[in-house]
């Protein structure tokens, strides 16, 4: 059966929280759930969910809201202190080993997978992965450049400089860098009022079209906005159709500047 919704969830030692935003049915069942230490993080792919009957469970928690099978509104419920977890018929319970290595369903819509990502500031330990990702994408290793970029954009003037990376939020032991974005707020260059410049964006080639670039761009846009600017700019090579298509699809239009250059003989 084809899952109709993808539900991210995390089971902590003392409870289970499921949140979803799709209609469906929940069929109640007891399922042994593997548990690793204090946390078990994974993803449920839910075919049909119906919240009817939650209260029948001897381990039932307190549903915050109970909905009918035809209700399309998002809902959530919690279970407290359950040694075995109440879960659901017609689900594929995906463990870390069972799902694809990055725990992001390639069939999932880009709009939904953005929620499976964690975007945070870069740390020194991430830089080797940033270098490796950039090398895979550009076929040119530039370790000195990236270390310098980290020193300038990952450690200084953080109120106006943003070096962000995206990681898999569903598995906190997965420390892989799936993509990164770098930008800063610049003012009065070329006569421009303060605006946010994005000068680097890269996404793991195998993970493109999963909403990673979109999540990174939206996050840095939010940071720019919080810092008080309302304009974002970037520059893309004319022939680089993939990034051009991406930025265009995110609403960026041609700006008021024309880039000029000349060969220096």
């Amino acid at each position: 059966m084809t899952p109709s919704a993808i539900v991210e969830f995390g089971i902590k030692k003392n409870g289970l929280t499921i949140e979803m935003g799709d209609k469906g049915r929940i069929y109640l069942a007891f399922v042994d759930c593997p548990q690793n230490g204090n946390h078990w993080l994974g993803r449920l792919q839910v075919a049909h969910i119906n919240v009817h009957g939650i209260r029948r469970s001897p381990h039932s928690g307190r549903p915050r809201r109970s909905r009918t099978s035809h209700d399309q509104a998002p809902f959530a419920f919690e279970l407290k202190s359950v040694p075995q977890y109440l879960i659901i018929g017609y689900i594929l319970l995906a463990s870390r080993r069972a799902v694809n290595p990055l725990a992001i369903d390639p069939k999932a819509r880009a709009e939904t997978t953005g929620a499976a990502l964690r975007v945070r500031r870069v740390q020194a330990a991430d830089i080797p992965q940033v270098i490796a990702l950039d090398t895979r994408v550009t076929k040119l290793a530039k370790p000195e450049y990236w270390n310098d970029v980290y020193r300038r954009y990952g450690k200084r003037r953080l109120h106006e400089r943003f070096f962000l990376i995206a990681q898999n939020r569903l598995d906190r032991t997965d420390s892989r860098v799936l993509g990164f974005i770098i930008g800063e707020i610049r003012a009065w260059e070329f006569g421009s009022t303060p605006c946010g410049w994005v000068f680097a964006l890269s996404v793991e080639p195998d993970m493109r079209l999963h909403g990673i670039g979109k999540a990174l761009l939206e996050t840095i846009s939010g940071e720019f906005r919080k810092a008080g600017v309302n304009k974002m700019r970037t520059m893309v090579e004319r022939g680089a159709q993939l990034p051009l298509l991406f930025f265009r699809s995110e609403g960026l239009m041609a700006g008021p500047y024309i880039q000029l250059e000349k060969d220096l003989d």
Binding site: R238, G239, Q241, L244, L245, R248, S249, G251, A254
Partner: protein, 154 residues
Amino acid sequence: MRLQISTRLAIFATLELTARENHQLSVADIGEKYGVSSHHLAKVMHIMGRAGLVRAVRGAGGGYRFAGNPRRTTLLDVVQLFEEVSSVEKDTEVADATPEGQALQAILNEIDTIARATLGSITIATMHKLLNGRGAGRWRSKPASARGRSVRRA
């Protein structure tokens, strides 16, 4: 840059057909909105059909459906079916061989390159985002008197 009437109609028809998934429209439906004859629009749709961008649906209530992928089809894909985005003259004149002619052509080539990059970077899906997204209010219909003759051809 000004697009030919057929090119503009092709883009408009594509936008209409992709406004909803599996949307099916007749040339009369589209023609009515843009004030163009069904005959002219049928020619445009025929060219798009040959290119595989639209598919004719026969029978009562028939019409056309978009057969491409709106997230992959760019404005350049549509434009190139009807006109060349290039200022290079096929019949070169004597003047083109002069330094002045070559310098002028270099500038025109620059404009062409920018035009191609722009048209090639906008997908049909992105056009719908522009139409429906934030700031969509700026694309309000003008009164018929202000539209002029840009598309009308009956």
